[in-house]
Symmetry: C2
Amino acid sequence: MNGKQMIENDVSTEEKIKIAARKLFQEKGFDGTKTRDIAKESGINIALLNYYFRSKQKLFEIIAAEAVKDLFFNLLTILENEDSTIDHKLSQFVEHHVDLLKSNPNLIHFVLSSSHENNPTVESLLNDFKIKAIQSSFASQYIQYAKENKLSESPVHYLLNIVSLTVFPLMIKRLFEGGFDIDPKIYDELLEERKILIPKWIKGMSEA
Amino acid sequence: MNGKQMIENDVSTEEKIKIAARKLFQEKGFDGTKTRDIAKESGINIALLNYYFRSKQKLFEIIAAEAVKDLFFNLLTILENEDSTIDHKLSQFVEHHVDLLKSNPNLIHFVLSSSHENNPTVESLLNDFKIKAIQSSFASQYIQYAKENKLSESPVHYLLNIVSLTVFPLMIKRLFEGGFDIDPKIYDELLEERKILIPKWIKGMSEA
DNA sequence: GTCTATATAATGATAGAC
DNA sequence: GTCTATCATTATATAGAC
């Protein structure tokens, strides 16, 4: 058995390429990222990229698929937890996304941009997720919750509000900090505060 | 005077190019848009594009600058109106942006993407706007308002919430409709409802 | 598996005729 | 002002040696 190429405690070439590709695609998008840049960033050459992934397009699709999963997989887990109340799911949703997007600020932008550019791979992955979410136990749990709490507006508003309040501030983090010499910690603290504030606000909104 | 090239009731070549460029840049970004595509879309050829705008880059900068202005110019007018209360400005803000982004759904995405990709032109335009907003009469008016209403949280949260609730649902309009056969009118009606609901919600949040 | 060299295609921009 | 033809560069992908 001398085929063992991936040494323990090290990173395989394939993974090196993926790491570089992920970084560049998420920063500059598909068209803005050149295979040469990926090769340089990962310390290999273009031939190897094609050896492992056959084409830039195929490599992109792998990266995009993983990004969608990163963004949505844990979300489904949260939504489908049968032992959790709607209120608890709300708290978890906010906490999870603030943490996730603080550590990977480009993730949402990448997924939104890719779907915006009518990327079929991303579109179909997003669609799969939407179907799963609608079919999940969360849907019926939420309907029950809305009845009990006599939520007057459409449930779509309720969900839109939660996502908007949580995700949008993470999307404009750079915009907020750019230009001035604002310490990134200030905005990070603000985001931490929102983990607690958003559930509180959502309550207040329903009662308004 | 035979130099009159722009015929009444018609569109100049320069404008034709800009219209095509605006559409494509906003859909596909700088790197995704090819000069040949712009030429084809506007019914002219690449040579003319360079004749009028010297380069793809310069054309992009013009389009990007106009997009930032479209997004922010009216906003400053709303904020700086001395005869308007904070509450009224809030209503105007929501109404204005729902209308603006319904008619031009790509505008925000384009501006956010461009700033995301560290486009210096867009960055500097956004920065100019931020300075103007901070220096505007709105800033002091808001501080006064916050005191009177004893708003407990940071004013940044207050502003973030308004923008998040207003803008984010417009950013994911396509995402929401895509995949299923959802009538776009449904989401449009939802957005219309938000013109009235968001100011109400914001009140409720402050009191939570 | 990894590299260098190269084929093939596309892209931005210009020259020069009309 | 507008066009066709063309150049120079860059990009993706592959061939073939090691």
